[in-house]
């Protein structure tokens, strides 16, 4: 522990938390939003573990265990929900979900169309590898 002090761990934790928060506030893709939340939680975990080591007790570590469990539950529920929403509109953008809002607030509409994914090259078809083998009549009857 000579080179690396408590502060260094806390800096990493704070940075991860801040990056997660920025991502959470700026992203529109639902999956990336939840990944950002997970990043925030990992920042918290580093914080807690560093403090746990600093104080020499296990309180922080047990908190991290509970935190990971809860985060897993939340992620499971959120991903199931995202899947359900994706099925109904085929898009992961959160901003299409704005049917409910105040009466006097207009819907937020992008200026241009959303960027579409680049079209993927179709996979090359394999050439047929020779003629179909002749099967024995007994075998054919079973198929």
């Amino acid at each position: 522990m000579t080179g690396i002090q408590l502060q260094n761990y806390l800096m990493v934790g704070a940075l991860l938390f801040a990056l997660g928060l920025i991502g959470f506030l700026s992203r529109r893709n639902m999956i990336l939003m939840f990944l950002s939340v997970e990043t925030m939680l990992q920042g918290v975990a580093i914080n807690l573990l560093a403090f746990s080591r600093y104080w020499g007790n296990l309180g922080g570590q047990s908190l991290v265990l509970f935190m990971l469990t809860v985060a897993a539950c939340e992620a499971a529920l959120a991903l199931a929900l995202i899947l359900m929403l994706y099925r109904s509109r085929q898009m992961l953008d959160v901003s299409i979900w704005q049917d409910m809002r105040e009466n006097d607030v207009d819907a937020t509409i992008d200026e241009g169309p959303p960027p579409t994914a680049p079209k993927e090259e179709p996979l090359p078809r394999l050439t047929p590898a020779g003629p179909e083998p002749v099967r024995r009549t007994q075998e054919r009857s079973h198929v």
């Binding site: 934790g13 600093y54 979900w97 105040e102």
Partner: protein
Amino acid sequence: MTSRMLQELQARIGQDLTGFLPELILSGAIVLLLLLRFVPGLERRHLGWAALLAAGGMLYTSILQWQNLAESASISLFSGLLVLDTFAIYIKLFLAVFALLVVALTMMTGIPDGDDSGDFYVLLLGATLGMSVMASANHLLMIFLGIEMASIPSYAMAGFLKGRRQSGEAALKYVVYGGGAAGVMLYGISLLAGKFGTGYLPDVLSFVAANPTDPVILMGMVFLLVGIGFKLAAFPFHFWCPDVFEGAAAEVGAFLSVASKGAALAILGRIALGLADVPSLMIPVLAVFATITLTFGNLAAYAQTNLKRLLAYSTIAHAGFMMMALATLRPEGAGAVLFYLAVYLVMNLGAFAVVAFLRNQTNSEDLRDLRGLVSRAPILVACLGVFLLSLLGIPPLGGFAAKFQIFASLFESAQAYWNAGQTNYGNILFGLLLVGGLNTVLSLFYYVRVLKVMVLEKPLEEVEGRESKPLAVPGWQNAYVIVLSVVIVAMGLFWNQLSQASSSRGIGTFQPRVAQAPPAQGAGN
């Protein structure tokens, strides 16, 4: 040696589990509800009765605890993770009564049908379990766990109407907001627990009180309050509330608006009263946010035409009302909140129940479709009138008694601060009293507008020249709202017993210890 330790451990675990009995009953019922689906013949049956039994069991055990616990006792369970005092038991009683009433409501409206009922009641009881953990949390870990155990089932319940797109949107907004708030709150918890090396709430609060201006501690407290403010739907963390309530079923809205607010207020009350020694920090913060929450909720409710959205803003305003009483940082304020919660349970549940019944009959929750409803469903509209006027605070209804308690606690505390020479805080609380009075007048218009539309305007069918038929409201549903409105009236007329429970017994644990005569008090019960 080891056997003696083992015996001690067993005795302690026995005591812990006895104190945890209401929650254990809920946990058992959750597992049972999941397993009941495997019993032949029960695969598609409505399982509401099992949930009713579970809530009843929780209520019964909580009543036993309420009767047996001394007024000023505070038993720590599970080596201090949870605390069992009359304050926590009051909130648990509140949650149990509420769960019972909500399950009865869902059985009448049929929102989870037979197929889904098992899942729905598992979620509902799970959220109730989380909330009762919140009510007795005495450790930062349990605060976090309780809030998350209450939130995660709530997300699923908000999206329970799978066929409706709005329901999915509501769940999405709730999950996104809740996930962010949970992350921020956890960071605050990590700062506080790390700074002090412990998460035990009384220790943490006394350390905070000793050094309230340290930037790390301040940041930790602010982040922690973000998480609580989210559960409470307090300004500026209220944005999810109207959308979630509009998209979710009215029954779910009733559950979220009453139960999760009650549990969040329990945590906020514990924190506020634990920090009573540093009024310079807590009184201004709570007063400012209570004022904004209250005024914002009332102003935003004006333009609403969707009944659930209107009620959502009304619940935000009521959260502000209850925060005002907590801003006193005194036991009287907490007692007034406990009283308010009991009345708020009945009147808010009643209002949401009427909305649910009307939705079943007319397929609409929009105020414009419910014009002239009084001729078509007179009993429902009359009871809705009782609930709305009680939410407004008209005497002799329960809402008036509740508001009166809040105002009285504010006035008493202001006087106490004045007498103690802390004029600033007295003035702030007196200002809150005025804000509360003004807001009661503000809220008059939107509550009365709903009644005006339903009573004075002509039915839509008559305007369009068709014949307007009376709604075929089942007798059970009429009976349900009639019972609730009778309770509301009774609470407004005879509130001595309830205020005895809330303002004296319920806050026994917060009374200053010095004032107690050692053997005389608390020994009787």
